[in-house]
Symmetry: C2
Subunit: 589 residues, 2 copies
Amino acid sequence: MEKICPGVYRLRFGTPEEMTFTTFREYPAQSVGGDNPPPFIEEDVCFDTSIRGCALTLPQRGEVYGFGLQLRTFRHTLGKRTMRCNADALASNGESHAPVPFFVTTEGYGVLIDSARDVSFYCGQARPKGASRSHANAESSWAPEATDEAYRSELGSGEGRMRVEIPVAKGAEVYLFAGDSMLDAVQKYNMFCGGGCKLPDWGLGVWYRMYGASSAVDWVRFAKRFREDGLPVTVLGLEPGWHTHAYSCSYVFDDKRLGDHEEAFRQLREMGYHINLWEHCYTHPSSPIYEELMPYAGDHEVWGGLVPDFTLPEAREIYLRQHAALGADCFKLDECDGADLTGGWSYPDGAAFPSGLDGEQMHHLLGLLYQQTINQGYPDSCHSVRASGAMASPYPFILYSDLYDHKDFIRGVVNAGFSGLLWAPEIRHAKNLKDFVRRLQTALFSPQMLINAWYLKNPPWDQLIREKNNADEHMPEAAEALRMVKALFDKRAELVSYLERMYQQYHDTGKPVFRALILDYPQDEACQLIDDEYLMGDDYLFAPLTEESDTRQVYLPEGTWQRDGQTYLGGWHEFTCALDEYLLFERVK
Amino acid sequence: MEKICPGVYRLRFGTPEEMTFTTFREYPAQSVGGDNPPPFIEEDVCFDTSIRGCALTLPQRGEVYGFGLQLRTFRHTLGKRTMRCNADALASNGESHAPVPFFVTTEGYGVLIDSARDVSFYCGQARPKGASRSHANAESSWAPEATDEAYRSELGSGEGRMRVEIPVAKGAEVYLFAGDSMLDAVQKYNMFCGGGCKLPDWGLGVWYRMYGASSAVDWVRFAKRFREDGLPVTVLGLEPGWHTHAYSCSYVFDDKRLGDHEEAFRQLREMGYHINLWEHCYTHPSSPIYEELMPYAGDHEVWGGLVPDFTLPEAREIYLRQHAALGADCFKLDECDGADLTGGWSYPDGAAFPSGLDGEQMHHLLGLLYQQTINQGYPDSCHSVRASGAMASPYPFILYSDLYDHKDFIRGVVNAGFSGLLWAPEIRHAKNLKDFVRRLQTALFSPQMLINAWYLKNPPWDQLIREKNNADEHMPEAAEALRMVKALFDKRAELVSYLERMYQQYHDTGKPVFRALILDYPQDEACQLIDDEYLMGDDYLFAPLTEESDTRQVYLPEGTWQRDGQTYLGGWHEFTCALDEYLLFERVK
């Protein structure tokens, strides 16, 4: 066992693969918190190899959380979770477009399995045969009223074992983070990655992605209208239509259709906007860099385009050269996750890249490598990305998804904080005004307040129904909607300096800005399953409402909390909110 | 290339694994149809190995169907499908509780990749880099109105290549089925497996699974009531409650709770019923066979129970010995698929079995091996099972699922016929009477008409709402419901002799009884996406209705069809049906 920094240890089993997450580290590991002894030692771990790869059995104590951006599950104890990159992760099986082989437990330690493979975690199952022999006299618990109970009855508490299966590899390095607390274990992981990211003030403001078929003239019109309506939008995003070829990408402005984009950019900047450009990294044959990139790309195409091997400096240099003159402030890195549902596109797991990575590994690393590349060309910015993994904490990239359930999106905010990720519960469409406003409230109190109106000709608050919107037909509640939108945008603008401070703290100490309650209150059993409210920085707790109901239960952890001048003690409380109200609580110190 | 029988060929690449689907063949391969040349030859296939396993690139012609029980997708062309056994397969990614690495195309050939691994098929993607170089001048097709188009635009037609990735293995045998037609290719596959299964008349009748908490006296009461109401139920099923311990299983009657089950069985038989018993194969420590089974079980437990290695004659013998005296006619083999969602239970992929199989392989084989075991003890019967795979055609086992969407269930009937599987769109609950009756109509014209009322104290036609049902409260439409139920049960009873003949044909020629239209009409492009109607034997076409609408479009293939005395020619027709009507068409010869 090797000590990396105070409270952080590395164990090495067998012969680890050459290229893993830490191989691509750009920032030195930093330290935070106490110099604690490791949660377990090498001798406590069983390691074996097989033709399938290798497996570790680790001691397991406490309830398990983490594994990256999990939209469908929160507590992972007793579950099986496989780290597999998938844009359309519908099941509670660990798949995600940002899976991270890192978990943390309520007992205050974290574990990173440093492998860019489809690692499976059996969190408290996988008991050896005979382990239950002594249960021979157990009473049957089955009844038709309680199948879930039956399923779980024999799972026990996990009996202190977690099995980790790593495909292909014949060994792995395992990092242990021995926290002063659960939160400190997460902070140690983030600092080990190089510290949390900082976000610029404009990146913390309000983002608006414009209609994909709009032209340069339309952008300026939008921008003016937002200012006329007093809406503090800070970033305008251009969707695929800006490329001469989008699937795959040319990275060339289609000025024939757009008009003079440079003049438009100049005007947008004058009005104080920052500009975001959509892209993915699959490079179309019509792109000026296609032939040059060819030797530094994987052996398979995606949508007819090359897949750059961003581990190679040459690939980064060629790619960034084409990006240097685009005149944007930041990018939206789409489609880098790969998808089974959306047409089955992606490079195969068995693809080969010039660096020696295969497709399975690249699916885990592409998000990180792509972030590093763009961050190199556009540092100190704030970008969007659709795939991430381990070691991503220092990069100012915010995740988003094509999935859309509001409760899943809230869970995303809660879960991302366990593993050094940021998540935007973006707004694209809404069933009705209530759904729209409730989603907007969640977005307001999230890492990124983003409206992605790529298929709406007019802002969604003019008209929520797509067909009517695109026919320039306003909805009856449009004026009322604008009023509420403005109030929420203004609130976000007001929050920016607080969030800046909190991100500075994230950067310096690794303390996530958005956190599950359990992370700060691991001893409070009530918090173990709370995946629909969260802490925002040091001072606030937010409990989102959804369009399902204006009434909800809120759990406040120990201490005193304040809202609208009223004071609440820890415990469960019920609240009912009008549509223009929300449940933000301030901690009374 | 080796010829196995007329029109069936075997290709061998690299060093195949020792244990695959064909290793466990119990019936000799038989032949049917013409002695056609192979659809492609060894030289047309690229084969390579890597540390991940191996990959094949096959020529691909025509539209692709099959891959076992796929509930979410129908045509697989351009998709990625991974054969992974999962009870809760929510995505269109190939996962299924009965994945089969066999596909068939509209060009009249089928391919079986004989591997019990999580094989991935890239059905027309996975193009090598540079393949799209000539598209440099292509116009961009992206527009916000047509993202799906954008996703697909560069996928092309597949350009004649299918990549198949096999994990772990350094080789594989591939079987080619050169059909006289698409249907003949499927028949050749079924005959290669040993022929289609036969089903006894009682198995083709109406199945009813009784309330799980019911006792021996309740069973007899149910049985009498069905007869009094004139309902031709042929099989009564007992759910988990019959075991002294159910999760995992003891295989011992809990007579303390049940009362005299033997006397009840005698009475049920007298009334003409057959008896079905629920179980899974995970053997609880309290089971009399636990200690004896120990050496023949895998190294991991499931729900505290042993996982028998049914490749071993000893395991089969011990297991069947405990089953010999149970007095049942047939079994329901539950939970043998493993589930990520339902609590994450199962043995890990890296589990080791005494035969040398690992967990990944066992996930593919357990369904088949378990069927073989029970079929050995209870031959010429008709059972239920929740997992299956390749080579299963000769076994009289019908699949079911915990998923429940009606349209998925219809698609299951349509898809199962491509790969030698049978599927029961069972009825458990319903939103309302219409949903119940429409589902019952689908079940009536399916491989198995099964009502699984395991959590309802009274029959669902008394009361559809669970709480009210269990409080003995009848719904207002109960009498009307019973009338419709009786009519549909009677229709099933009337169909039995026709179905028996069709299953005899399936047995003798491999021709599936329930078939997608595309299977009989591969040249008819309209059939390529029709996954909501199907052929039943030689004479009928059935187009189910769901509770969504009483009106639907029905496509009739070329020829003349008859319904209610009216005649229809091939093409699209619209029909509206009252709740007690359905859309069954008879072919006019």
